[in-house]
C-alpha cells in the first residue's frame, strides 16, 4: 500500500498537476468569468425584452408571467443564479488581486472563493427552492 502511494506521487504528489495547489485555477476562473459574463450580458437584454411586455398592459404582462413561471424558465432561473454566483466569486478574485490582496497565496484564495461560491449557491438555491416549490406549492 505504502509502495503504491509513493508510486502514485507523480500523479497526486505535491509536485503534480493534480495537487490542489497546483491546478490551473487562474485559467479556470478566467474562462468561467468570461463564459458567465457573456451569458449574463445576453440575459440583460432578455430581461429588458421580458419587461417590455409592460407596454402591452396588464394582460400581456400576465401572459408573460405565466410563461416565466413555467418549468423550463424556473430551471433557467437556477442556472442564472449559478452564473451570477460564479461571476461574482471570480470577479472577487480579480478585484482582490488588483488590490494586491492574497496575491502571494492566490492558489489558496481560489479554493476559498470556490468553496464560498458553492456554499452561496446551495444556500440561495435552497431558499429559492423552498419559496417556489414548498411555500408556493
Amino acid at each position: 500500500m505504502v509502495n503504491l502511494v509513493s508510486k502514485m506521487k507523480w500523479l497526486f504528489g505535491k509536485n503534480s498537476d493534480l495537487y490542489p495547489l497546483n491546478m490551473p485555477q487562474g485559467m479556470l476562473f478566467w474562462a468561467a468569468r468570461r463564459i458567465t459574463g457573456v451569458v449574463l450580458a445576453i440575459y440583460i437584454f432578455a430581461h429588458l425584452y421580458v419587461l417590455s411586455t409592460f407596454w402591452g398592459g396588464q394582460s400581456a404582462w400576465g401572459g408573460m408571467m405565466d410563461l416565466m413561471t413555467s418549468d423550463i424558465f424556473v430551471f433557467l432561473d437556477f442556472l442564472l443564479l449559478g452564473a451570477v454566483i460564479v461571476h461574482v466569486v471570480t470577479g472577487a478574485a480579480v478585484i482582490m488581486f488588483d488590490m494586491g490582496a492574497g496575491v502571494r497565496n492566490h492558489k489558496r484564495v481560489y479554493w476559498i472563493l470556490a468553496i464560498i461560491g458553492v456554499v452561496l449557491f446551495i444556500a440561495a438555491a435552497y431558499v429559492a427552492y423552498y419559496l417556489i416549490f414548498v411555500k408556493g406549492g
Binding site: 468570461r34 459574463g37 457573456v38 449574463l40 450580458a41 440583460i44 437584454f45 429588458l48 419587461l51 417590455s52 409592460f54 407596454w55 398592459g57 396588464q58 404582462w61 400576465g62 408571467m65 451570477v84 461574482v88 470577479g91 478585484i95 488588483d98 419559496l131 411555500k135
Partner: protein, 124 residues
Amino acid sequence: MVNNPGKTKGTWAWLLQRVTAVLILVFLGIHIYLAHFANLNDELLSWENVETRVQALPILIVDYGLLITAIFHALNGLRMVGFDFIVDKTKRRVVDVALWGAGIVAVFWGLAIFAPFLGILGFR
C-alpha cells in the same frame, strides 16, 4: 500596447468596470430582495405590486441605477472579450462605436420600460 501608442490606456474602462461591479452587487441585492423577498405573503410581481414599487422614488433610483451600471459593465466586459480577438485599430474603433450605440439604446429602452406606471411617453 498593440496599435495604440500611448494615447489611451483603458484606465477608465478598467476602473469603471470595478466600480460598477461593486455598485451592481449593491443594486442587485436590493433589486432581488424587493422583487422576490420583501413581502412574501403577496404576489410580488403582480401588475399592481410592480406599479406601487416603481412609483416609490428610492426603488426607481435603485432600478435605474442597476440598469445603467449593469449595461455599462456588460458591454465593457464584451469589449474586453472582443479586444482579445480584435487587434486592428480601425476595427476596434468600429466595435467601440457599436457598443456605445447599443449601450445608449439599451439604457433608453430600459428607462422607457416603466412608462405605463409613470404615465409618461403617451401612456395614460
